[in-house]
């Protein structure tokens, strides 16, 4: 085991996959000479050259489409979109081409691209650099969506995403690149479907993904310490498709569910998980499921307002206390 940071894990996955297959390329803004805004491609330009580690112009729809077109010929592009807010500009190519080309060609073409992008709200980056867009990507057939909560997942998810024949969107987080964690020194491929139980519990399930897993874990600690409630934390590292079986299993065990998302509530992960609970195990419930979400506002610049707009572990604790009437 190596204790490394998230960016190092992502860089290592790039490096191994590029060494393994000459058709794997990396592309994005400032990923080459600079090594990436978050260092996720540090050193690769010198190692693999400018034909395979490509500094793109600031043309998100253009270079995303270019990567998709190259993937038709067997190239395996790992496309970094510097901030998920800029991915809006590439939605045409991601949704209209990558997600649909296998289907509308009757299975003749596929677009095995990986699109990595940090979403989430960092510190006072303002409305146009604080988007949480995972719910947008989740709603489209033909696209896989995964989101790592730790370096092990970040490494293994990218490895599998590169080799998978589907387009995969990896939702990273601006605040998590320096997060440390153990990653196996042996090569590891993380499944692109499923969920992980990050903490065993029996009284309530806290569903989280990406950064909200950490709020859930902190909340579970507080709930155990102060209220004697043992919360199970389920890490939904795969957002599309969501793990129906994992959701059902945990709710059938705890009979209570809280879904914690950094995004606005409407049409989001919480709404979708609740729908799955309804469909899969409604009669297992002892209480109505609850979601803990951001306020439905563009993210403000003012730091106190920014914090007020976002949930944290205290909001999760409060939601569970409300559920238990304590």
């Amino acid at each position: 085991m190596a204790d490394i940071m998230m960016w190092e894990a992502i860089m290592r996955a790039h490096d191994e996959e590029m060494a393994n297959d000459p058709m794997v390329i990396a592309m994005g803004e400032d990923i080459g000479v600079v090594g990436g805004t978050y260092k996720a491609t540090m050193g690769l330009y010198d190692k693999y050259g400018e034909q395979r580690v490509i500094d793109t112009p600031i043309s998100e729809n253009g270079y995303t489409g270019l990567g998709i077109g190259a993937s038709f010929l067997g190239v395996r592009p790992i496309i970094e979109i510097m901030s998920v807010n800029f991915a809006w500009l590439a939605m045409d190519q991601i949704f209209n081409t990558a997600a649909k080309v296998r289907y509308m060609s009757g299975g003749q073409l596929q677009a095995p691209v990986v699109i990595r992008s940090p979403g989430g709200t960092a510190h006072q980056l303002g409305s146009q650099h604080s988007a949480r867009m995972e719910k947008v990507f989740m709603g489209v057939a033909g696209l896989r969506v995964v989101t790592p909560s730790n370096p092990r997942q970040a490494y293994g998810l990218l490895k599998s995403a590169v080799r998978c024949n589907d387009p995969v969107f990896i939702n990273e987080h601006e605040l998590m690149y320096n997060m440390r964690g153990d990653v196996s020194e042996e090569e590891y491929f993380h499944p692109l479907e499923g969920s992980e139980v990050a903490r065993e519990g029996k009284d309530v399930t806290l569903f989280g993904y990406n950064i909200s897993v950490h709020w859930c874990l902190k909340a579970a600690g507080l709930l155990s310490k102060h209220h004697g409630i043992e919360a199970e934390v389920v890490d939904l590292f795969a957002l599309s498709p969501l793990d129906r079986e994992g959701i059902r299993n945990s709710v059938s065990k705890t009979h209570r569910a809280v879904i914690v998302e950094e995004a606005e509530p409407a049409v989001g992960v919480g709404a979708e998980v609740m729908a799955i609970i309804n469909e899969e195990c409604f009669f297992e419930l002892d209480a109505a499921p609850v979601r803990v979400s951001a306020l439905n506002v563009p993210i403000p610049y003012n730091h106190a307002m920014e914090k007020a707009a976002l949930p944290d572990e205290n909001d999760v604790v409060q939601a569970v206390r409300n559920m238990f009437g304590i």
Binding site: G65, G69, L73, G74, G106, N165, H190, L192
Partner: protein, 330 residues
């Protein structure tokens, strides 16, 4: 080009004309659904360029007005018509339709319905060719109105800085759906817009097969030699509306008559008659044989083919049994 080859091309162009006209009828008969964009009037563009290229070897990508480009790339017209009839035997197994003809075995990389969408895809295919080291090129056919999309500028810029083997062919038919080019576009001559990206470009009469063929040869020679992208603008005209739902009321009859007086099929025909390589009777026989072939083989095949199985409606969304979804074989 020899007259015998030109006669072959004439037959192919006339076949394309009759194929498209028959699509019109099939649409009225409700055998074809959805949107249908037809190519009559523009034939010399696809045939002039692809005659100079290596269809089946070079990659071709285009917009929703795609039937003829696919057929010239090597697609079986029966399977193209079967696609329009939404049949399992269609090139895209009835999942694509008129706007999404795909025939990857013939390197026809598809028809796409977002105006300007193929610009970056073509550059990406060219990147793939560059990485594989082959002598193929990618040819991207799009209309003039697509040049008002951001993807036009983004893709030309990338194609130039990375020296990609892509030929962009602009079929300038003077209208973006129903809006005339001078009402939508600051610069009418599209080839001039490309100079901002330091890409060589040319403009040619898109109604004259011989001129298109000559211009395309020059363009393709440049791209295949590894000298990077090229932009060829062909001035042309579509006889019908943008799609079947377009009443075509926005164009003056005098303008339409002017262009139909320069019909690409008739121009090539008359040139061959003038040179003594063809007689009018031969041409009429050719036309009759084509009409029979379309009716007896193409339409019949499409009409008699089976529909896709409804049990397969969720097939082709994602890869089947991809081991990496489970984290590979460990």
């Amino acid at each position: 080009m020899k007259d015998t080859d030109k006669k072959r091309v004439l037959r192919e162009m006339l076949f394309a004309r009759r194929f498209e006209e028959r699509c019109y009828e099939a649409y009225v008969e409700r055998n074809i659904g959805g949107f249908l964009h037809l190519y009559p009037g523009e034939e010399a563009c696809a045939f002039g360029v692809l005659e100079a290229a290596k269809p089946g070897h070079d990659y071709v990508i285009t917009s929703y007005r795609d039937h003829v480009h696919a057929i010239k790339s090597g697609s079986d017209p029966k399977k193209v018509m079967a696609e329009l009839f939404a049949k399992e035997t269609g090139v895209s197994k009835g999942r694509g339709g008129s706007m999404h003809i795909f025939d990857v075995a013939n390197r026809f990389m598809g028809g796409y319905a977002l105006v300007g969408g193929p610009f970056p895809l073509a550059a990406g295919i060219a990147k793939g060719i560059q990485m594989q080291g082959g002598d193929e090129i990618c040819i991207c056919f799009l209309g003039d109105a697509a040049n008002n999309q951001g993807t036009f500028h983004e893709s030309l810029n990338m194609a130039k800085i990375w020296n990609l083997p892509v030929l962009y062919v602009c079929e300038n038919n003077l209208y973006g759906i129903g809006t005339r080019i001078d009402r939508s576009t600051a610069v009418i001559d599209q080839y001039k817009r490309v100079s901002g990206y330091n890409i060589p470009s040319a403009q040619e009469d898109g109604q004259d097969f011989d001129l298109v063929y000559k211009a395309a040869n020059k363009a393709i020679k440049h791209v295949r030699a590894g000298k990077g992208p090229y932009f060829l603008e062909l001035m042309t005209y579509r006889y019908r509306g943008h799609s079947m739902s377009d009443s075509n009321a926005y164009r003056a009859k005098t303008e339409e008559r002017m262009w139909s007086g320069r019909d690409p099929v008739i121009m090539l025909r008359d040139r061959l008659i003038e040179s003594g390589a063809l007689t009018l009777d031969e041409y009429k026989e050719m036309d009759t044989a084509i009409l029979d072939e379309i009716e007896d083989e193409v339409i019949r095949y499409a009409a008699e083919s089976p529909e896709p199985h409804m049990s397969e409606v969720e097939k082709f969304v994602l890869a089947e049994n991809d081991p990496w979804v489970k984290g590979g074989v460990q």
